[in-house]
Symmetry: C2
Subunit: 216 residues, 2 copies
DNA sequence: ATGCAGTGATTAACGGCGTTCATCAACAAT
DNA sequence: ATTGTTGATGAACGCCGTTAATCACTGCAT
């Protein structure tokens, strides 16, 4: 009818040429990061790219599927961060674990909207999340697990069950990020101090002496 | 018109007599606990109590205000739990802190819907939350703070800044509860084991020897 | 008794949401 | 020339929170 012809856009960028799926995803990411998860709606995405809302359903089964794609992006970004950090301290498990903890927290604080959909979404919303991606997401924990076991082998860490310890470390980090993002930490506490203490105490609970080991 | 006369209900219970505000709150709590926060809507509450949705606005400014009332309830319930726990170990700081940690986690697992609105709501939703209640909510942390400082005075805890330490403990506990509620803990790990380890490691990071102190 | 203000409730409506359905235009293949 | 496919659309359904206008009823002052 009076719809704009989308086949050959007059825009010279060519960004919306062919694969609309990419454009939708880019816009969704942009909207998520700019306005937060609360303001991420199918209709707003559609408005932004000047398509009808129903068009999105040609490329994504539903809103959750679109969200899963964004979560996947976030997981890959986190993976890249942790991977770079791990390589930086490849031969010092303690320092590496410390750096990994800091990297995780920094990721959360730098990408709050990503963090929310990645780790703070209620289980119901995640029910449809494909198990294959679940496994990929869990790979991020492998960095911590590896540092723990290598440290244990080197005698600088005291670890009963690496799997359990990895989870408890993750719990600490997740709690730290969550409290910071929700602005629920006592305002009289400096953010840096809080983070440093949290990381130090987390690692301290795995060093036999209770004191931080010298170098690795 | 065809509306039911609400002034004199035929129901002999008298529960909906007079203060509708109470009834709304009770129904909201019931709906929250039964169906979760996702399914808590003004219209559903209204349907449940056979009133129009707009009637709720005669007693609550908006949905957030209603939510704040529920949050307050949850905070008081948590306070009661922690208070009872603290009194049980009034003369043993270490044991008390351990019991407090377990009590907090148990509260979260036993009241997941309350926990969600109390601690997992995004900042935007909490913007209107009255500061006076914020302070009351923070009182729950005092139990942990007290155990820490008393333990430090007795020489069984090594605490630099009690305020910071309290926050990091809270972070650990919050992370632990969040991961469990979101079902994101490795399924091969037993829940009990995970909780015990998390609590033990949390406390361990504040004991000078790195080992749990004997009795208090 | 009549009029009036206040109270507690209602319906209608607005604009938002995710999603489904029927339809339509353009194109490719027969 | 007819068919089928593909990519897009508008209308509609049933939700949602919230606002505005309205109504019935009460108690009270005149």
């Amino acid at each position: 009818m009076n719809a704009v012809n989308h086949c050959m856009s007059a825009s010279p960028t060519g960004s919306s040429n062919g694969d609309l799926r990419r454009t939708i995803l880019d816009t969704a990411r942009h909207l998520l990061v700019q306005k937060g998860y609360q303001n991420l709606s199918m209709r707003k995405i559609a408005r932004e790219i000047d398509y009808s809302a129903t068009s999105i359903y040609l490329y994504f089964d539903n809103k959750d599927a679109l969200l899963h794609a964004l979560i996947h992006e976030g997981m890959m970004k986190l993976y890249a961060d942790l991977d770079a950090t791990a390589h930086q301290y490849s031969d010092a498990p303690v320092r590496r674990l410390e750096a990994l903890c800091n990297a995780f927290i920094e990721f959360g604080l730098a990408n709050p909207e990503y963090y929310e959909i990645m780790f703070q979404l209620r289980p119901e919303r995640m029910k449809r999340y494909p198990a294959e991606k679940y496994r990929q997401a869990r790979q991020n924990l492998e960095f911590f697990s590896a540092a723990l076991t290598q440290g244990a082998d080197a005698g600088v860490f005291e670890v009963e069950d690496p799997r359990v310890s990895t989870s408890t470390i993750w719990a600490s980090l997740h709690g730290t990020v969550s409290l910071l993002l929700a602005e629920r930490v006592d305002v009289r506490i400096e953010r840096e101090t809080f983070i440093d203490t949290a990381v130090r105490q987390t690692i301290r609970s795995y060093t036999p002496s209770g004191q931080p080991a010298p170098s690795g």
